[in-house]
């Protein structure tokens, strides 16, 4: 083997390793949405049992916080938020944007839980907030998953070509080659 051939073989091996690492990273990234859903579900369970877990707010704290917004106003805001967030995710799906699942949604949804709790109408509105969270996070999760899967397919095709060139037995399934 000449020096040039040896260098080329080394570069191909490096490329192959880089592709394998990228595929592994994409695989773990495709599950990121599920982590967000799980985190939101874990946050929602104690909130659902808030009547039994958290003590009622002391009158002093209530006085300090002031008059809470009306439940109708919070519900209207929740619907507007859900509408905007769903539109944004659908926009990202249309453009094929690679933006990751935004965990900030969990923070916004916890704020909604808190507002309903302080207004004293959390049990009536709990399911609306849960449905909002599940819808937004499921859509984001699906978007990231399908995008990652498409990228994995591309990378696996490139890997299959590279391995064929290197004369190796391919790691990629037969159907992908």
């Amino acid at each position: 083997m000449t020096t040039t051939e040896a260098d080329s073989a080394q570069t191909q091996e490096e490329q192959r390793i880089a592709l394998l690492v990228s595929i592994r990273r994409l695989h773990s990234r495709s599950h990121q949405g599920l982590w967000a859903i799980a985190a939101f579900a874990c946050t929602s369970v104690p909130i659902m049992l808030s009547d039994r877990i958290f003590p009622p707010l002391a009158p002093g704290i209530k006085k300090m916080l002031g008059t809470p917004p009306s439940s109708n106003m919070i519900s209207a805001l929740l619907v507007v938020y859900a509408f905007s967030a769903i539109l944004l995710v659908l926009g990202r799906i249309t453009n094929g944007s690679p933006k990751m699942v935004s965990f900030s949604h969990i923070g916004y949804l916890i704020c909604f839980y808190a507002f309903y709790y302080f207004s004293g109408v959390l049990p009536e509105n709990f399911w609306a907030v849960l449905a909002t969270g599940m819808t937004i996070l499921s859509l984001e999760s699906y978007h990231i998953w399908s995008l990652s899967m498409a990228k994995i397919k591309e990378e696996e095709e490139t890997l299959a070509i590279l391995e064929r060139r290197m004369g190796m037995k391919s790691h990629v399934p037969e159907s992908m080659r």
């Binding site: 519900s75 859900a82 509408f83 769903i86 819808t135 699906y142």
Partner: protein, 281 residues
């Protein structure tokens, strides 16, 4: 399966529509429920006010028998779970249920704590704080309202023993059965679920059916025809009526025809050359 165009087109639409309709229905149900409870509470407060006004004359004349009869008669009304009058010290002086007369109520329980939470009891209370919901000992969901009986000039000056500094002479407490309200809410919930399901089936089903008819079926045919070199029946079907896909099928068809012509020409050319070579040698 999840990577197919059909799944990729329908899943986000289905998720977005289903989720948003569910969010709107749940929020709307919560708002309507709250409105109905507020209406029921307002009705309850009106009844309590009517009872206070009806008993005013008997109270001014300290006619206890008359007062007891009014309370007992109104208390028998369908839907009234309890009706009682407390005095200034929290003792039940009149009640529909004779056995509880003379009992003292705990000022720390819900319904009393609104006024009695501070060192000095509040004399005025917001309307919504006069209302409370709970399950009574018979397991009935009750919406209860407390209506203060205020001291008036006529009480302290014209008749018996109430001093002027007693702002609140007692409290009228009425509890209404929430069963009919709960039944209405259950019916509304059931109707909303049916309506939501119908909307979802129509929306998602309609989108899926339209996509299937105008995109997925011709796409399947296109995939089938592009998998072979020969002109098939499916290809002929696809050549009109499917818009851009028909155009694509026609282009593909003309490409195949040109390719076949070129192949034939090449074959002819090769055989010509062979003949020439054979003739020459």
């Amino acid at each position: 399966m999840f990577q197919s165009i059909a799944t990729r087109s329908i899943v986000p639409v289905g998720l977005a529509v289903t989720g948003f309709v569910a969010i709107c229905c749940l929020s709307l149900y919560a708002i309507m429920k709250q409105d109905m409870i507020d209406d029921a509470a307002q009705n309850g407060r009106n009844i309590a006010n009517t009872v206070v006004l009806s008993t005013r004359y008997a109270m001014l004349h300290n006619d206890r028998q008359h007062l007891g009869n009014i309370i007992a008669n109104i208390g028998q009304h369908q839907g009234v779970e309890h009706l009682r009058v407390f005095n200034h010290d929290g003792f039940i002086t009149f009640s529909r249920n004779q056995s509880e007369i003379g009992r003292q109520v705990n000022k720390k329980v819900e319904g009393c704590s609104g006024c009695h939470s501070g060192s000095m009891p509040a004399e005025q209370l917001a309307a919504e704080k006069q209302t409370r919901r709970f399950k009574n000992e018979r397991g009935v969901l009750v919406l209860a309202m407390s209506q203060p009986i205020y001291n008036e000039d006529s009480c302290s000056v014209s008749c018996h023993y109430h001093p002027v500094n007693h702002k609140v002479l007692g409290m009228l407490d009425i509890g209404l059965d929430q069963g009919p309200l709960q039944n209405s809410l259950a019916l509304m919930r059931y109707r909303m679920i049916v309506f939501t399901l119908m909307t979802l089936v129509l929306t998602v089903g309609g989108v899926a059916a339209l996509l299937n008819r105008s995109f997925f079926i011709p796409l399947k045919k296109l995939v089938a025809v592009t998998s072979t070199d020969e002109t098939t029946e499916a290809e002929r079907q696809l050549e009109s009526g499917y818009g851009e896909l028909s155009l694509l099928a026609r282009n593909y068809h003309s490409l195949i025809v040109r390719l076949n012509d070129t192949r034939e020409a090449l074959t002819r050319c090769r055989s010509c050359n062979k003949e020439k070579d054979g003739g020459g040698s």
